[in-house]
């Protein structure tokens, strides 16, 4: 195979992979209103309600959001907060996830 042929194949593959990355972003993150068949507003409202009922007695939403923002990035903050909620308080694992999702979304605002 000539260098030209190899270079051409490489450029085509890299372009294809970049397109795949963009497609991935669109595929896993459809518009909020249709995500997973559940309205994003409903999910946010559920997270807010759960935070209010399980967390707000001791913590403010602002403090929780600030906690997430002090992490190097939100992915790390998410993991850290999820770990913190395990065995903390009386919320279930599913409720913990909804609370974390809600707070992460708020931290992005």
């Amino acid at each position: 195979m000539t260098q030209t042929a190899v270079t051409r194949a490489m450029l085509m593959l890299v372009a294809m992979l970049a397109a795949a990355a963009v497609a991935f972003g669109c595929l896993v993150n459809p518009p909020p209103a249709t995500r997973g068949g559940v309205a994003a507003d409903d999910a946010a409202a559920r997270g807010a309600t759960l935070f209010e009922s399980h967390c707000a007695g001791c913590h403010t939403e602002q403090d929780a959001v600030q906690y997430l923002r002090t992490a190097p990035n939100l992915d790390g903050g998410r993991r850290s907060l999820s770990a913190l909620l395990e065995g903390h308080g009386d919320s279930s694992a599913g409720e913990d996830t909804a609370i974390v999702d809600y707070l992460v979304a708020r931290a992005r605002d």
């Binding site: 593959l13 993150n29 990035n73």
Partner: protein
């Protein structure tokens, strides 16, 4: 000997007649198969992550695209090792030099992907690039990034950085191990995607594949080589700063190869010591009684200039091969061999094999050198002209005044003048210094030679 343009230009290509174990269609099928496998391996983590999307909340699309670049970069980096771990089934259809070019190019692509990956995440700060501090997950990512950058920089500018080949190779392997470990750690620690079991198992599979290849390359292969030593039979200065090294197997059957292939020769105390160098096999592929194999080695560096001359008869060495796909097949109508300098070594193997197999296909050899003093195997080539349907054209860059053949470099005009009218039907094999090869490829394209008919062998990739 002089060039014979008038005779060469009128001779048509002759149909193929010799047997070959590798029809061109088989090689093409194998290339498609392996390329599909490669693309699948690179894309698999992305597909698994998409199918197991663990995130419930909407988030910026750019962040997800960044995650995708990270997963693709990780897969590219982990698969890199497979390209250069001397897997013969992969080496043969593509040719080892194409795999090395691919390895080099995709290493750069992986670095770009790794850079883009955090830049698209809106919440990432400059601290994410710090390999010396911060939380473990981001720190591992930073280490992987800087190690990848070090690999790319040291490979692209090795000579400018005055890094010896052996030092560069050792550093390359160590940095690659660091990249693999740090990138793997980063992916598991950071992403919400890697919290999904399917993604974690997929990444674990890649780590296992990497580890298996590493064990095969650094443990199993040297152990097998240790049981198959070779012995130096002759080491002759044949002029042109070149030595012809002949080795034979000690207590085993040697190796079977096809003309144009190459092998790694190990001259250290044992195969575990990574003192190994890739060399084209210069002898006939037809078996000989002692199983001997010859290498033509030009003094170009420390190893070829100092170690090789010291390899006395009786010295134990090891030969790892054969590799590469720089080999004519039975379906080739006629062969055009374009050699520059020590690039004549694989051409000698091809010519001697054609002679030993009684193959009478038309062969055109273009041999570029500075002048007669740099030409090796001159007498042998003259004999082969009589024994084969071979036409030889020497092209000298700095000939003496008496030379009445071709001068300068191998150009479009010289090729057109010496090749038959049906030159686009011939198969081209090009081996020589990088500038010559860079010039020949577009030259052949300008003559209408399809890219698929041009075969190249480049060892100088770093």
């Amino acid at each position: 000997m002089t060039s014979r343009s008038s005779e060469l230009g009128t001779r048509p290509a002759v149909a193929a007649g010799s047997p070959s174990p590798r029809p061109a269609t088989t090689a093409r099928s194998a290339r498609r198969l392996w390329f599909s496998a490669y693309v699948s391996l690179v894309c698999l983590p992305l597909v698994v992550a998409a199918l197991s999307d663990p995130l419930a909340a909407p988030r910026p699309i750019l962040a997800d695209i960044g995650v995708a670049f990270g997963l693709l970069g990780l897969a590219l980096l982990l698969v890199q090792f497979a390209l250069v771990s001397r897997l013969r089934p992969v080496s043969r259809p593509f040719g080892s030099d194409a795999l090395m070019q691919w390895h080099r190019g995709m290493g750069i692509a992986a670095l770009v992907f790794v850079i883009v990956h955090p830049l698209l995440a809106p919440e990432v700060t400059w601290r994410a690039w710090n390999p010396f501090g911060g939380p473990a997950g981001p720190q591992a990512g930073a280490i992987a990034f800087w190690a990848t950058a070090a690999i790319v920089v040291s490979s692209m500018w090795r000579r400018r950085l005055r890094l010896g080949y052996e030092v560069w190779r050792a550093a390359h392997l160590l940095l690659a191990l660091l990249v693999a470990a740090a990138a793997f750690w980063h992916a598991l620690a950071m992403g919400p995607y890697s919290s999904a079991p399917a993604v974690r198992w997929t990444l674990a599979g890649y780590a296992g594949l990497f580890a298996a290849l590493l064990v095969r390359y650094r443990v199993v292969r040297p152990a097998l080589l240790l049981r198959r030593p070779w012995e130096v039979v002759a080491n002759e200065d044949i002029g042109g700063s070149t030595r012809l090294l002949r080795v034979r197997p000690s207590g085993h059957g040697g190796l079977r190869f096809e003309p144009g292939q190459f092998a790694w020769i190990l001259t250290g105390a044992s195969p575990v010591v990574a003192d190994e160098h890739p060399l084209s096999i210069a002898s006939s592929a037809e078996p000989n009684p002692e199983g001997g194999v010859e290498f033509a080695i030009k003094a170009l560096g420390d190893w070829s200039g100092r170690t090789v001359p010291s390899l006395a008869p009786g010295r134990r060495v090891w030969v790892d091969g054969p590799f590469g796909g720089f080999t004519p097949s039975a379906s080739d109508r006629g062969l055009v061999l374009v050699a520059g300098g020590i690039g004549i070594a694989p051409m000698r193997s091809i010519l001697l094999t054609l002679r030993d197999r009684g193959d009478r296909r038309g062969v055109w050899l273009f041999y570029a050198a500075s002048d007669w003093s740099r030409v090796v195997f001159r007498d042998e080539i003259e004999r082969l002209e009589r024994e084969l349907d071979l036409s030889v054209c020497f092209v000298f860059e700095k000939p003496d005044a008496a030379w009445n053949g071709e001068r300068g470099f191998i150009t479009r005009d010289i090729l057109a003048r010496h090749l038959p009218g049906d030159l686009v039907e011939l198969e081209y094999f090009v081996c020589g210094p990088v500038p010559m090869m860079d010039a020949i490829e577009p030259t052949l394209a300008s003559l209408g030679v399809p890219s698929a008919r041009v075969h190249t062998e480049r060892f100088q990739v770093v």
